[in-house]
Subunit: 358 residues, 2 copies
């Protein structure tokens, strides 16, 4: 138990949920479904049931350190690993690994995004336990794969070799997001799983993989051995971290390593990657309107996704298939089929009005 | 000058602009076009240029007395004529007339709604002066008629006899709101004018008309002679006013009296009776989107009317011909062509959620 650690990665800034998410309060800090807890808080709550609270670290951009402290008053400052710049998942994981190695040189670590949704918590915790047991015995890089429930084109897939034990299978290949035809083939084959972005490994095994597959990142961050988990860590990281290559752990290590295994997860998972996934996960009325947080009255309207602030009322007449999202000083109305344009819309708003509505 | 008085009628509670207007802040108290002054304040500002401030009275429902004081700090409590219940324009005008008669038995009075828009103030003031001069010489009931600029079906019309002097014509008939065919005929004839709801008369002439055409209302309110403009007025009105018949001045007197004249008004007038009239009066972008108060970005969207709170941003993609109106705790999205349904929608909201969003 004391060897088990968790790194919650919460440094993202995605604009796909703007105006609900903002630069100064991105998705992981939001409470999408009105549960009273943000996605980050929910992630923390889940892991704190099986991992000692002091072994849970939040890796985030420096900008969000105060927000993390505010949302997780139960952790200490030293549990927030502050990235001075955005450098994707590989440098973040290398940094966290060196930091944790300095605390416990035999740590087993779960690495997880801060902003995913888990529906069946008990299944999830059982899966994580299984994974921690596995990596404590086998020097492997374990990833959690989700059995596809539809031919989703929005996720990367993991293909496994046949066989495997303890519901854990050897990985054959990681694949990028497929086109619809390929997604259909993946869905039907049974060998393909959604890449959840949740990883479990021993600290030495992942650092060995960095030495082998991302030696440049490793050399830079290995210079700090002796400084990690000391007052000198921050200065070192501020200097070296920005010089690291911007690369994902999937692309930099998981696609290349030969000791990659996958645990078949069965806990009801969504990366909440876009409004469509939020719509899918929300209860709908008879007109298939989904409402988050606010109150509503729909008249001759269907297939809409509406979210206003808590306690507000949306009255919608004669509208089909739109996203209506209001937060703070912005109201966005956008066709549901065109939500991929939100990113560009945000850029247009920034161009026209500057930072005011970011 | 000292014989000239004005009664601004501001007791309405219309729900056609909900959620922009609310039961506790109806249309006359709102600043539609972001001028910094509400419609009531604008009406007061206009008249105070030609009528002594102390001769301007606001007739309103008791509920709104505080709001009137707040918006017009320059008037005294005694200038607010409080109606204990809603009883349409005839009882309101009779009450105000008796009150003013007690102050000045030879008063000439302009009666005006609080919530109309006047575009050309100098023309307006000149028209009012002309009217006040006329009624000080001739014992007539003068109404202001607006030359129609379109075959509008939303207004009542006044038909005049041929001839007339000083741009003032004798009235042949008042007509209700016409159907589209009739409105076209009215528009083309040249003898028909929009009924602006602004009246000018000597206090004794209008009270004589009450004696003749609405004797029941007159008898009730005439009992208060001797009490008006004294500390006993309030108690008398609270007791008697609710017993008065609910009837409009048009229907009760103007349609029946034989001394009714009309002054042709040329000051750019709108009763702001619905969102369509607000849309017509607002500057539009190249996509014919009209925006009140807030900032906006339209993408593939046209013919919309959007109003959020000051300083907020509306981003609208792929939407045509809607009203998007947000105020305080309510957002309404409704087809522009179906705004006549707002009244029913408000009733539905009240049924579902009670007073919270009224």
């Amino acid at each position: 138990m004391k060897d088990n650690f968790c790194v919650i990665m919460g440094g993202g800034i995605g604009s796909r949920f703007w105006p609900f998410s903002r630069e100064n309060k991105p998705k992981q800090f939001l409470d999408f479904f009105g549960t009273g807890r943000s996605l980050l808080q929910q992630t923390f709550d889940r892991f704190s049931q099986i991992i000692p609270t002091e072994n849970i670290f939040i890796a985030t951009n420096e900008l969000y350190a105060d927000l993390v402290k505010e949302q997780l008053p139960e952790i200490t400052d030293s549990q927030i690993l502050k990235e001075p710049t955005r450098r994707n998942t590989a440098p973040c994981i290398a940094y966290a690994s060196y930091h944790i190695q300095a605390i416990n040189p035999n740590a087993n670590i779960v690495v997880t995004p801060a902003d995913h949704l888990i529906l069946q918590e008990q299944h999830f915790l059982k899966n994580i336990q299984t994974g921690l047991n596995f990596v404590s015995k086998f020097p492997s890089l374990l990833t959690l794969g989700v059995k596809p429930s539809r031919p989703e084109t929005g996720y990367g897939y993991i293909q496994t070799k046949e066989g495997g034990k303890d519901n854990i299978q050897e990985v054959k290949a990681f694949t990028e997001k497929p086109n619809p035809e390929l997604a259909q083939i993946f869905f039907e084959s049974g060998d393909f799983f959604w890449n959840s972005g949740i990883f479990i490994w021993n600290v030495n095994v992942i650092l060995d993989a960095f030495k082998l597959y991302l030696p440049d990142i490793n050399v830079r961050l290995a210079q700090g051995i002796g400084l990690y988990n000391t007052p000198k860590e921050k200065e070192f990281i501020n200097e070296v971290y920005p010089t690291c290559q911007n690369i994902s752990i999937d692309y930099g290590i998981m696609e290349k390593a030969d000791n990659v295994y996958m645990l078949v997860a069965d806990f009801g998972w969504s990366d909440l990657g876009n409004w469509a996934s939020v719509y899918d996960l929300t209860d709908k009325d008879e007109g298939k309107n989904a409402v988050l947080k606010c109150k509503s009255l729909f008249i001759e309207s269907k297939d809409n996704l509406v979210t206003l602030a808590d306690g507000k009322l949306a009255v919608v007449q004669g509208l089909d298939n739109y996203i209506v999202a209001e937060s703070d000083n912005v109201l966005l109305i956008c066709k549901r089929d065109e939500e991929q344009r939100i990113k560009q819309i945000v850029a247009d708003v920034k161009m026209k009005y500057g930072e005011e509505y970011m």
